[in-house]
Amino acid sequence: MTMSLGPYASFIVTSYAAAALVVAILIGWIVLDYRSQTRRLRELDRSGITRRSGRSAMDRP
């Protein structure tokens, strides 16, 4: 089965491609930010800096 997009195919394809690109950038930014924050927390943990609660910065309940 083929899908015909007519004479305005470029507008339709560009819309979907732009949405995919922007969503991919958002996901990439959030994943990279998470990695960056956890890496910094690990570095602080290694240097002996702990939270006031006494738990490690990386602790999760």
Binding site: G6, Y8, F11, I30, T38, L41, I49, R51, R60
Partner: protein
């Protein structure tokens, strides 16, 4: 787990760890179904295949307003209830809302060119959505400009609540003014005027994009909590260094005084 329990950032982090994989999976499945249904949707008798842009444009346009609504509720949480996660939620939502608003403007423009003969028109709907996009950018700039998160939170909360005035303007702009943009065809008195063959894929895509927002928002909130944890630990580290260097300088000064006295 109650809502009060989620006020504890550590518990919230634990919840996101459990929930995020399920939310991401549900988003991917629903997006796949929505895209498949959008591809199979028939051409419109007037617009032809360009009607397929609707399935991506309308969910983004809905979310552009929905996200500001979420930020407004979070702002009330900051100003009225002082909920510890309220400003985290508002700050984390802003870039995601800006991205959805950008996509609504871009896809609307790409839909407008073949249908209206122009990419842009300074009419009420388009201009009010552009203002919403600029407000998102302004809010993000404000968060970055003020270093202390709690001070930035209060200023951003006031700005968000003032900006919420724009939401009904966007919604009703097509009724209040003569605009190039078509009036509401889904959420309107008397029910949707869309045929089921368009309405069902549109609703599936709208739910999929809403799930996408929830997933990204929870992940961005988790990042913001970790960022604040990093910031407070770095401040603790800096104060320890300052304290130990002061102690070092103090003991050197004492030793120097003793040496002078002995001489």
């Amino acid at each position: 787990m109650t809502l009060i329990d989620l006020a504890n950032p550590t518990r919230f982090l634990a919840l996101t760890t459990r929930v995020l994989p399920w939310l991401a999976a549900a988003t991917v499945i629903l997006l796949a179904i929505g895209l498949y249904q959008s591809a199979l949707a028939p051409d419109d008798y007037l617009q032809g295949a360009t009607v397929k842009i609707m399935f991506i444009h309308v969910p983004n346009a809905w979310l552009s307003m929905f996200v500001w609504g979420v930020m407004s509720i979070a702002s009330l949480g900051t100003l009225v209830w002082r909920h510890p996660l309220a400003d985290v939620a508002a700050k984390a939502a802003a870039p995601i809302g800006a991205a959805f608003t950008f996509l609504a403007l871009l896809t609307g423009s790409l839909w407008g060119r073949p249908m209206w003969g122009t990419y842009w028109e300074w009419d009420a709907r388009l201009t009010s959505v552009l203002i919403l996009f600029l407000m998102y950018l302004g809010l993000m700039a404000l968060w970055r400009a003020v270093e202390d998160p709690s001070r930035a939170a209060r200023a951003a909360a006031v700005l968000t609540l003032v900006g919420a005035i724009n939401l009904p303007i966007i919604k009703f702009s097509v009724d209040w003014w003569n605009t190039l943009h078509q009036p509401a065809s889904v959420m309107r008195m008397g029910g949707s005027s869309l045929d089921k063959s368009f309405l069902i894929p549109l609703l599936v895509m709208a739910i999929a994009f809403t799930l996408l927002f929830v997933t990204l928002h929870l992940a961005a909130m988790r990042n913001e909590i970790l960022r604040r944890r990093v910031r407070s630990l770095q401040m603790m580290q800096a104060s320890r260094i300052a304290f130990s260097s002061e102690m070092g300088a103090g003991s050197r000064h004492d030793n120097a005084s003793k040496e002078i006295g002995a001489a």
